[in-house]
C-alpha cells in the first residue's frame, strides 16, 4: 500500500494531492502539464515535495514534518521514465540488467520472459542509439520490471507502440501485477488503456484532483466504425 500526500509549488500552479494506492493499479490521467510526471518523481525520490508524506507499507519514504527523506536507491521503486533515460553507453542487455540485485536463476528466467514478451530478443547486443523509438520504450519497460521493485511507476509506458503490441502488453502488465501484488502507478493518455488496466483512477488538472473528467464523447464514438481507405 502506498500513501501519498504532497504539496509542491511549480512554475504555474501548485500540486496539492492526496491518494492511496492499494496493491493494485492506479491510473493517473490528465492533460499535458498537469503534474503527473512530477508526482511520479516525488514517489521515486527524485524530487522533494514542499510538504507532505509518502508512506509505503508503513515505511515512511518522505515526511516533511519528521524530516525523513529516503534516497531513491533505497526506495525499491521501479520507475520507467517518460523519456526512457536509457544508458547510451551500455547495450540493451546491460541496460536491462542494471537494476538487478541478485543474478540468480529467477532473474534469468524473468529476463528471458521479458525479452520474449516485449519482442526484443534480437536487440540484446544493440546500443541504445541504434534502436527505434518503440524499441527504446520496450527496453525501458523491461529495465524497470527487471529491478523487481516494491512499487512500480510507469510514465506513459506504451505510448510509442502499435496497437497490437500495446494490447498484448496491457494484458501482460495486468498479469504481472496480479503476481507481484505491488502498487502500480501508471500514466496514460489513452482512455481505452486506462480502462483496460486501471483498478483506480485519478484525474488531475493543474495539480489537483478533479472529480470527474470532462471527456468529450467524440473520442469514443469515432472508434466504432473504423474503415481505412
Amino acid at each position: 500500500m502506498l500513501q501519498v500526500m504532497m504539496k509542491k509549488q511549480l512554475a504555474d500552479f501548485t500540486i496539492d494531492i492526496q491518494f492511496t494506492v492499494e496493491n493494485n493499479i492506479l491510473v493517473l490521467l490528465g492533460p499535458s502539464g498537469a503534474g503527473k510526471t512530477t508526482i511520479l518523481r516525488a514517489i521515486a525520490g527524485l524530487l522533494r515535495p514542499d510538504t507532505g508524506t509518502i508512506i509505503h507499507n508503513e515505511r515512511v519514504l518522505f515526511s516533511s514534518t519528521a524530516r525523513t527523506f529516503v534516497p531513491p536507491q533505497f526506495r525499491h521503486v521501479g520507475y520507467m521514465f517518460q523519456e526512457f533515460a536509457l544508458f547510451p553507453h551500455m547495450n540493451v542487455r546491460k541496460n536491462i540488467w542494471y537494476g538487478v540485485k541478485q543474478n540468480d536463476n529467477k532473474a534469468k528466467e524473468l529476463y528471458e520472459r521479458l525479452l520474449g514478451l516485449l519482442h526484443i530478443e534480437h536487440l540484446t547486443t544493440r546500443f541504445i542509439n541504434r534502436l527505434s523509438g518503440g524499441e527504446k520504450q520496450r527496453v525501458a519497460l523491461a529495465r524497470a520490471l527487471m529491478a523487481e521493485p516494491a512499487i512500480l511507476l510507469l510514465d506513459e509506458p506504451l505510448s510509442a507502440l502499435d496497437s497490437d503490441t500495446r494490447l498484448e502488453l496491457q494484458a501482460e502488465l495486468k498479469k504481472i501485477q496480479g503476481i507481484w501484488k505491488i502498487p502500480f502507478v501508471l500514466v496514460t493518455h489513452d482512455i481505452a488503456e486506462a480502462k483496460a488496466l486501471g483498478d483506480q483512477f485519478l484525474f488531475l488538472e493543474k495539480g489537483r484532483q478533479v472529480a470527474r473528467p470532462a471527456f468529450r464523447p467524440s473520442e469514443f464514438c469515432q472508434c466504432q466504425s473504423i474503415e481505412l481507405a
Binding site: 521503486v77 553507453h89 529491478a147
Partner: protein, 227 residues
C-alpha cells in the same frame, strides 16, 4: 643517449598520472556536488600551478618539503625519510603541475552528463558510488581522456618544478626534460635532439594508441549511429 632518463620519465609521468587522475576527478566531482563559500577561491587555487612559472611552483614545493618545511619535517620526524632529491619529488612536482589540466577537463566533462541518467541509475538501486562508476564516469569519458592526455603530456614534459625539488642527478632523478636541458647546457645539441625525438616519439605513440583504442570503442557504441 641513455635509457635511464626515458624509463624514469615514463615511471614518473605514469605514477603522477595516477595521482592526478584520482585527485583531479575527485576534486571535480566534489566541486560539482557541493556548494560552499570559498568554492571559487578553491577553484582558482586549482588553476594556479598552471599559471605560475614552474620554477615558482618548484620553489613553493621546495619550501614545503625541504628540511624546514612542514611536510619535510613531518616526513623526517615520523618516517625518517626525505623525498627531496628523489624521484618521489619528481612525481610530486609532476602531479602538482598536471593537476589543473585534469581538474578542469573533468569538471567540464561532468557538467555535460545528463542528470536524468544518474537519476535513473539511482532509482535502480545504485548508491552514489556505483552511479559514479557506472554512469557518470563512462559518460564523461571523452572529456576525461582529454584530461589524461593533457596531464600525461604535461607531466612528461615537466621541467622547472622538477629540477627544483628533485634536482638533476644523472642516473637518479634525471628525467628526459632534464636530460635535454643538461645536454643543451653542455652544448651537446645532438644528444639534446635525440632526447627531444624520444619524448616526441612517446607522445606520438600515446596518441596513436589512444586513437586506435577509442576507435575500437566507438565501433561498438558510436554516439552517432552508422547511417
Amino acid at each position: 643517449m641513455e635509457w635511464q632518463p626515458v624509463l624514469l620519465s615514463l615511471k614518473v609521468a605514469l605514477s603522477s598520472l595516477i595521482f592526478v587522475f584520482i585527485f583531479g576527478v575527485a576534486a571535480a566531482y566534489s566541486m560539482r556536488s557541493f556548494e560552499f563559500p570559498g568554492k571559487s577561491a578553491l577553484e582558482a587555487l586549482f588553476a594556479l600551478p598552471l599559471v605560475l612559472p614552474p620554477v615558482v611552483t618548484g620553489f613553493v614545493l621546495l619550501v614545503l618539503i625541504g628540511k624546514q618545511g612542514p611536510i619535510g619535517q613531518f616526513l623526517s620526524e615520523s618516517l625518517h625519510t626525505q623525498i627531496i632529491f628523489t624521484p618521489y619529488a619528481a612525481v610530486l612536482a609532476a602531479t602538482v603541475v598536471a593537476f589543473p589540466l585534469m581538474y578542469h577537463s573533468a569538471k567540464a566533462a561532468f557538467e555535460g552528463v545528463d542528470s536524468n541518467l544518474e537519476d535513473a541509475a539511482r532509482t535502480l538501486g545504485s548508491g552514489s558510488w556505483r552511479v559514479f562508476w557506472t554512469i557518470t564516469m563512462p559518460l564523461s569519458w571523452s572529456g576525461l581522456v582529454a584530461g589524461l592526455v593533457l596531464s600525461f603530456a604535461r607531466a612528461l614534459g615537466e621541467f622547472g618544478a622538477t629540477i627544483m625539488v628533485a634536482g638533476n642527478i644523472p642516473g637518479k632523478t634525471q628525467t628526459i626534460p632534464l636530460a635535454i636541458y643538461f645536454a643543451a647546457e653542455a652544448n651537446d645539441l645532438t644528444l639534446a635532439g635525440a632526447y627531444v625525438l624520444m619524448i616526441s616519439g612517446i607522445t606520438f605513440f600515446l596518441i596513436f594508441g589512444l586513437n586506435i583504442w577509442s576507435k575500437k570503442r566507438c565501433g561498438k557504441s558510436s554516439v552517432k549511429g552508422v547511417f
